[in-house]
């Protein structure tokens, strides 16, 4: 229960920060994607189920407030969380390279999928332009923010796991 509440608060915090504070700090109109960082972190830290659930709710929040239809971002975020969960068994909290690499790949693929579904299908073929002006800057900015946000998410998760372990021992 504590975990559910904490994760819900984390999603809410990232969404609110991304739509308000980081809009004010945007470089060239580009915001970092905190929700991708959160989704993919929970994917590789906790496994497929939790990754896909965090992704689903993050995406749904985006859809409700800014999407044209419900379920579009929810679907993309959910698959990102699920696929990140596949790397759960090779994840170690001490190693920073895997998380960074996974977050970069996640954000990159999110950008690609968005381009294909929202622009390519409407006949906008200038991929180099969109890559240069939206996808790539977003990835760079997201990496910078990851360096601050990821240790925080990791610390929250370590605490939750410790508390859960303690509670489990108490019942045994």
């Amino acid at each position: 229960m504590a975990r559910k509440i904490t994760v819900a608060l984390l999603i809410l915090m990232c969404f609110v920060l991304q739509s308000t504070v980081f809009r004010g700090l945007a470089f060239g109109g580009i915001v970092p994607n905190l929700l991708i960082v959160l989704t993919s972190s929970f994917g590789f830290m906790r496994g497929e189920t939790e990754g896909l659930l965090v992704g689903f709710f993050s995406g749904l929040l985006c859809d409700i407030f800014f999407g044209e239809m419900l379920g579009f971002h929810a679907l993309i975020f959910m698959y990102i969380g699920f696929l990140n969960g596949k790397f759960c068994h090779i994840f170690f909290p001490e190693d920073i390279r895997l998380p960074i690499a996974l977050i970069v790949v996640s954000d990159l693929s999110y950008g690609m999928v968005c381009y294909v579904l929202m622009f390519l299908l409407r006949g906008k073929f200038d991929f180099p332009f969109y890559f240069k002006s939206v996808i790539f800057p977003e990835v760079i900015y997201t990496i910078l923010v990851t360096c601050l946000l990821y240790p925080f998410i990791l610390a929250v998760n370590v605490r939750l796991e410790r508390a859960e372990k303690r509670r489990a021992q108490k019942f045994v």
């Binding site: 809410l12 969404f15 985006c62 906008k124 939206v134």
Partner: protein, 292 residues
């Protein structure tokens, strides 16, 4: 043991691939259902609005408060100096004001002749603050702090600086989503004041950085439209009210089909620094009803 439900101690858990499958179906169904309708919007928007919007408003207010406090500290010294010079200016302005009052009378007369600006002074308007902007980087969508409880409704037009900003595309009890006309998926039917030929104004991510938007499908067989012409919304649209200023023509080119023209428009609104907007409470359909 059933493959779907594994028994782990006392708790039932569903394997992730089944959960993924179920949620994928759910998302696809939701997309199919909500692409043209707003079936689930009311309860979902209300629930999400009550949870998220207070946080957003708080954070934007804290941000504004912090920045204004820090500015105050910096500005106190400047303000003292400015105060002295402003007193001098007050005297000058009093003189100027009397002149301007005379000019206003003239303006009112001219407005009556022009019959355009006065038209959208008649509309009932309500001010709103922008509390959040799109979390993605593709479309230009933002969120305002008023909703159904303040009398807003879907498709209401939003203006700022005397120009068209966009229209409401999503609404909850205490928030509304505005899709701006510079968003890549927005199209507005418009006309120029010089010619009566219609044209289509299209938002474009590519030109957003240059501060212009595209227009196209302008017939203009008499070459009446020139650079610098005012572009306003046309009577054709069923969402946008007529005669709201969109911007000024910056460049105009003949298309390769030799029949239509296209080019770029400088919008009247500074979209990058928007903080407050005005929502026009009159809907296009209502206005037509009233006229009939």
């Amino acid at each position: 043991m059933s493959p779907v439900i594994k028994r782990k101690g006392e708790r039932f858990t569903i394997p992730s691939k089944y959960l993924l499958f179920v949620l994928t179906c759910l998302c696809t169904a939701l997309m199919a259902l909500t692409i043209g309708t707003d079936l689930f919007n009311r309860p979902l928007n209300a629930a999400a609005g009550y949870v998220v919007v207070p946080f957003q408003q708080g954070i934007s207010r804290v941000g504004q408060w912090l920045s204004s406090r820090s500015e105050e500290l910096v500005q106190i010294r400047q303000l003292l100096e400015e105060n002295a010079s402003l007193r001098e200016q007050v005297d000058e302005l009093t003189v100027e004001n009397t002149l301007l009052l005379q000019e206003r009378a003239e303006l009112n007369r001219l407005r009556e002749l022009y019959k355009l600006e006065s038209q959208y002074e008649d509309y009932r308007k309500v001010g709103a603050h922008i509390t959040g902007r799109d979390t993605g980087n593709w479309y230009s969508v933002f969120q305002i702090d008023k909703g159904e409880d303040d009398g807003l409704a879907l498709d209401m037009n939003v203006i700022a600086d005397g120009g068209l900003v966009g229209r409401i595309t999503g609404i909850g009890p205490n928030w509304a989503r505005v899709t701006s006309i510079i968003s890549d998926n927005a199209h507005v039917s418009a006309k120029t004041l010089s010619g009566t030929d219609p044209l289509i104004v299209t938002g474009d991510l590519k030109t957003m950085a240059d501060g212009v938007i595209r227009f196209g499908q302008l017939v203009d067989s008499q070459d009446a439209v020139a650079v610098g012409d005012k572009v306003v919304t046309s009577h054709i649209s069923d969402k946008y009210l007529p005669n709201i200023l969109i911007g000024y023509i910056q460049t105009i080119n003949r298309d390769s089909n030799n029949l239509t023209k296209s080019g770029y428009i400088t919008p009247a609104v500074d979209f990058e620094h928007l903080e407050e907007v005005l929502v026009i409470l009159d809907l296009k359909e209502q206005i037509q009803d009233r006229e009939e």
